[in-house]
């Protein structure tokens, strides 16, 4: 298992949006250990505010969120001229392909199924940051 150093051709931290604090803490810790700068939000409303304020290089967005769920948050980000360029990766507990397809149709750039395969997630993040 290898860790990947983040590329520096995209500035801005990674925004992790996750309401489950146990999982969120784990992912923050793990992303930081892999060398990424990480900020976080606990719900969709807060996520949009963080995106506007910090212009993250990428958003990892849980689907099941309080106040504003992942679908709605993604939709609003896509409708916002200042945010629509930011890649958004859905974190979903659904392994079904129909749900994955729904995520892509909803405007997500990619998805990762929970529990997260971390090396795969890092590879995806690298893919976006290096694109």
């Amino acid at each position: 298992m290898t860790t990947h150093a983040p590329s520096d051709n995209r500035s801005g931290p990674i925004l992790l949006v996750e309401d489950n604090e146990v999982n969120r803490d784990m992912l923050i810790r793990r992303l930081k250990r892999a060398g990424f700068a990480v900020i976080w939000a606990g719900d969709g409303e807060e996520a949009l505010a963080q995106m506007r304020q910090h212009q993250p290089s990428l958003v990892l967005l849980d689907i099941n969120l309080p106040i504003k769920d992942g679908w709605q948050t993604c939709k609003e980000a896509r409708e916002d001229a200042d945010l629509r360029h930011i890649p958004i990766v859905a974190l979903t507990a659904h392994a079904m392909d129909s749900d994955r397809l729904a995520a892509l149709e909803a405007g997500f750039d990619d998805y990762a199924t929970k529990p997260i395969d971390f090396p795969e997630l890092v590879a995806k993040i690298q893919g976006f940051l290096n694109a």
């Binding site: 146990v22 784990m26 810790r29 199924t113 529990p115």
Partner: protein, 477 residues
């Protein structure tokens, strides 16, 4: 949904059970932990406690929480393992059951996802990309879907692998140092063996012009970075499907070639190349089962050959026969006759089978005249070699015969049977040396331009009828 809930709670139970060795080891006073490792372990214990609380709940919210908590435990366990060099060996050992438990279900779930992906056939895929994270990602994504992936980090390595590995498709990065994707593509398309292997180009949006050039050069599709995994899967499936179709087509083609070889082997000796080719191009026009058709039958032999052969040394007999039959075969095939049989010096040929050309009797007559004309040349050669001169008789008759593959499964040949065959044989019996005798039936198929002599009546022994025959003297001029 209930089945999945049950699975995730079963999984949670297994994960919790697998924690016991780790907890026991960590509790030992002899085992010390770094601060980071202690934090990770505390987080695992915290998540495990929460997981215990909700393990028995059965609703979709609980399932989501369970997966989050398992995910957290998995994450911390993997982080501990990543730092295993700095851990007490006993911790590493006791971490293994936990890792196995958190990862086992991941595999099962992705197998389900693959299974849900229905009828997709797994493929053998070569992924070529100079960026290790892309190779890693492609391997993971496609590996999860059940495909076997080999990777190459350069164009050269890709070419080397392609030489030895029969892959179903190639994912090819466009921009690579050294030999680039376009060059690998060009090589593949110029190689007989690799030409049909589907190629998907991978590139950034900014390289669209080159992607278009690659598609024109034979690439099947393209994918933009970063990968959209669903698109990747879809294109892989389509590519593999295409390859399978191609392979199937190849097999059909081989089968066809085999039956073509069979047809050639069956007819090649008897038919001109033209007719074999026509049969192969229009196989439905040929009924191997046997059919009743009107043909013109030709029988020829060398008068007095049996007694002649008895008076000559065997090698001279063979030399005579080969020169004679060789030349006759050429002429018959020239007139698109079908040679049914050689019987010693006798030749049985048929015009109008396996397919009629409408002027079968006329071609047979022309052929017979050409054969008689060729005898002068053959005899000149015979005389030069000190061999005797030969005289040939030819009989022609037109009528309906059964044509088809006659014989058993093991040994059969395309042949002809019927009354008209016997009639032809009777005519041949009464044909004089150097003569062509044609039946009245055949004569009626010829235009008035053909010159025939006085009619004769032949009593056909065993046939019980009188036959009217004519000597054929000259062709249409």
């Amino acid at each position: 949904m209930n089945a999945i809930d049950d699975q995730s709670s079963d999984w949670a139970s297994r994960v919790l059970a697998s924690l016991a060795p780790l907890r026991e080891t960590a509790a030992r006073s002899s085992v010390t932990l770094s601060e980071v490792a202690a934090d990770d372990l505390a987080a695992i214990n915290d998540a495990a406690a929460r997981l215990t609380d909700i393990i028995a709940l059965n609703n979709s919210e609980a399932r989501h929480d369970r997966l989050n908590l398992i995910g957290a435990i998995k994450g911390y366990a993997e982080m501990l393992y990543e730092d295993r060099d700095q851990l007490h060996p006993a911790i590493v050992t006791s971490l293994e059951p936990l890792l196995a438990a958190v990862q086992a279900q991941t595999a099962t779930e992705s197998q389900q996802a693959t299974f849900n992906n229905s009828d997709e056939e797994p493929g053998f895929i070569l992924a070529v990309d100079d960026a290790p994270e892309n190779r890693d990602l492609i391997s993971r994504l496609l590996g999860k879907a059940g495909h076997t992936v080999i990777t190459a980090e350069s164009g050269q390595e890709a070419l080397d692998l392609l030489e030895t590995q029969a892959v179903d498709m190639v994912l090819l990065d466009l921009m690579m140092p050294g030999i680039g994707g376009a060059e690998v593509l060009t090589f593949m398309k110029s190689d007989e063996r690799l030409r049909a292997t589907p190629v998907i180009m991978i590139s950034g949006r900014q390289d669209m012009d080159q992607i278009v050039a690659c598609i024109q050069a034979g690439a099947d599709d393209y994918l933009l970075k970063p990968f959209n995994p669903v698109l990747l899967q879809a294109r892989i499936s389509a590519g593999i499907e295409r390859k399978r179709w191609h392979d199937r087509e190849e097999r059909y083609r081989e089968q066809l070639e085999r039956s073509e070889r069979f047809i050639r082997a069956t007819f090649g000796r008897y038919l001109s190349d033209d007719i074999v080719k026509e049969i192969l191009e229009n196989p439905e026009g040929l009924k191997l089962g046997g059919d009743l058709r009107e043909v013109t039958i030709m029988m020829s032999d060398i008068r007095g050959f049996t007694s002649l052969s008895e008076s000559l040394p065997p090698e001279q007999v063979v030399a005579l026969l080969n020169r004679y039959l060789g030349r006759m075969t050429e002429i018959i095939l020239d007139y698109r006759g079908t040679i049914d049989e050689f019987l010693g010096d006798a030749v049985l040929a048929v015009f109008g089978a396996p397919r009629s050309e409408g002027n079968d009797a006329q071609r047979a007559a022309d052929c017979a005249l050409a054969m008689q004309a060729a005898m002068a040349e053959i005899n000149a050669a015979n005389v030069a070699d000190g061999l005797p001169e030969l005289e040939m008789a030819i009989a022609l008759n037109t009528g309906k015969v059964v044509a088809g593959n006659i014989g058993s499964e093991r040994r059969s040949k395309y042949g002809f049977v019927g009354h008209e065959m016997n009639v032809t044989s009777r005519i041949e019996d009464v044909t004089g040396a150097g003569e062509i005798l044609i039946s009245d039936n055949t004569r009626q198929h010829l235009s008035k331009d053909y010159e025939t002599g006085e009619s004769r009546s032949v009593s056909a022994k065993g046939i019980g009828e009188q036959l009217v025959v004519y000597p054929l003297i000259g062709g249409a001029t």
